[in-house]
């Protein structure tokens, strides 16, 4: 059976929000506030750990788990097993997985070769995060005289701690990216002839 779906899938995801924030109990929030202030003003980390573990499980169970853990660690040391049993949780992935790098990819000539487009261009127009470039030379992926790209984080509309150049009207840049996005972190940079020559060589290979 094929189900009929309507609208933007992201809207459907919004509707599937598993939490009704407005329905949360104020008493629970008050308890959290008291816990936070109590823990913060306690003198040692050990005090917090002891309190937290005591709340989470009965002492006897905690002792049992500790004993089990010691035994299993010993077993693992002996046999080096890393087999996952049915029902075990997946690898740690609490809230995002490996989103750790500041940039999408590290810039070098090898990763530059993976981009959909790369060119030498001069800024004709800026509108929010959209930048229209006059293409001086296309190294890859463009066959038009101008192109409009999203250059989020490089146009001054958002304060950003890292990324690319601060793109200005009339200035010349080397730009590379995918899917209509100019990538920061070296994939976009002010034009320099020696770098342009390297791009041209790398992308011609």
């Amino acid at each position: 059976m094929t189900k009929r779906t309507e609208g933007d899938p992201l809207d459907q995801l919004s509707r599937a929000d598993p939490v009704d924030a407005h329905g949360l109990d104020l008493a629970v929030l008050a308890r959290i506030r008291q816990r936070s202030r109590g823990a913060a003003t306690s003198q040692t980390e050990g005090t917090q750990v002891a309190w937290k573990d005591a709340r989470r499980r009965p002492p006897a169970l905690a002792v049992s788990i500790g004993a089990v853990a010691v035994a299993v660690v010993a077993l693992l040391v002996l046999n080096g097993s890393d087999r996952r049993l049915p029902g075990a949780l997946p690898e740690p992935d609490p809230s995002g997985g490996p989103v750790t790098a500041l940039c999408v990819e590290t810039y070098d000539l090898d990763t530059l070769r993976d981009r959909d487009f790369a060119f030498d261009g001069t800024v004709q127009a800026l509108a929010g995060d959209s930048v229209t470039f006059m293409v001086n030379e296309s190294y890859r992926g463009l066959d038009s005289a101008s192109v409009t790209l999203s250059a989020v984080g490089m146009t001054g509309t958002i304060i950003t701690s890292a990324g690319g150049p601060s793109i200005s009207q009339g200035q010349r840049y080397l730009i590379a990216g995918d899917d209509g996005f100019a990538w920061a972190c070296g994939f976009s940079q002010p034009y320099r002839p020696e770098i342009a020559a390297r791009w041209a060589q790398a992308l011609a290979e």
């Binding site: 009704d20 629970v28 929030l29 029902g87 989020v152 990324g163």
Partner: protein, 200 residues
Amino acid sequence: MGDGSPRPDPFDFDEVFAQHARAVFAYALRRCPQAADAEDAVAETFTIAWRRFGQVPRGEATRPWLYGVCRRVLSNQRRGEVRRWRLLDRLARREQVPRPLVTEDGPAGLAIEALGRLRGDEQELLRLLAWERLPHAEIATVLGISVNAVAIRIHRARARFEVEFHRESQAGGPKGLGHHWTSTQVKGRVAADRVRERPR
């Protein structure tokens, strides 16, 4: 105080708590199989905020900063849980961990199912977008990446999500795969009484 910051004025702390605790608790609940774990994570998040009160950014930057702290707290919490359960599993040879369940019908269920088929980092980007409703710059703060990277990754994640959503739609809907929420959370949302009861 953990970082040498002066002790915050309790009234200042209470103001920050009053403005953001509900949102941070909702953030944690959306990412925890157990409400008690979410409560622990939020308590620890605001403990850190208290200790580092001088470093807490003010204004619009406060909430994404708190989300970012809570994210790291949850990450540590989950690692501990995984280690604990894995050790117990290996010794006892039992299935102790809650099994993934998704039982909601309709487009929302399809969306949950499709989300569960993405990589963890893609899931988190879309959760922050769809559930916390954060702009790109604030998502960048939560995740500690550049706003340029956020824009690019969201673009890719949305594209993959739409493919999975339509694939699920063609296949006939949710089958209860690949997600850690309980059916209670997905079908009925996290209700106030469930949080109030404290299941453990």
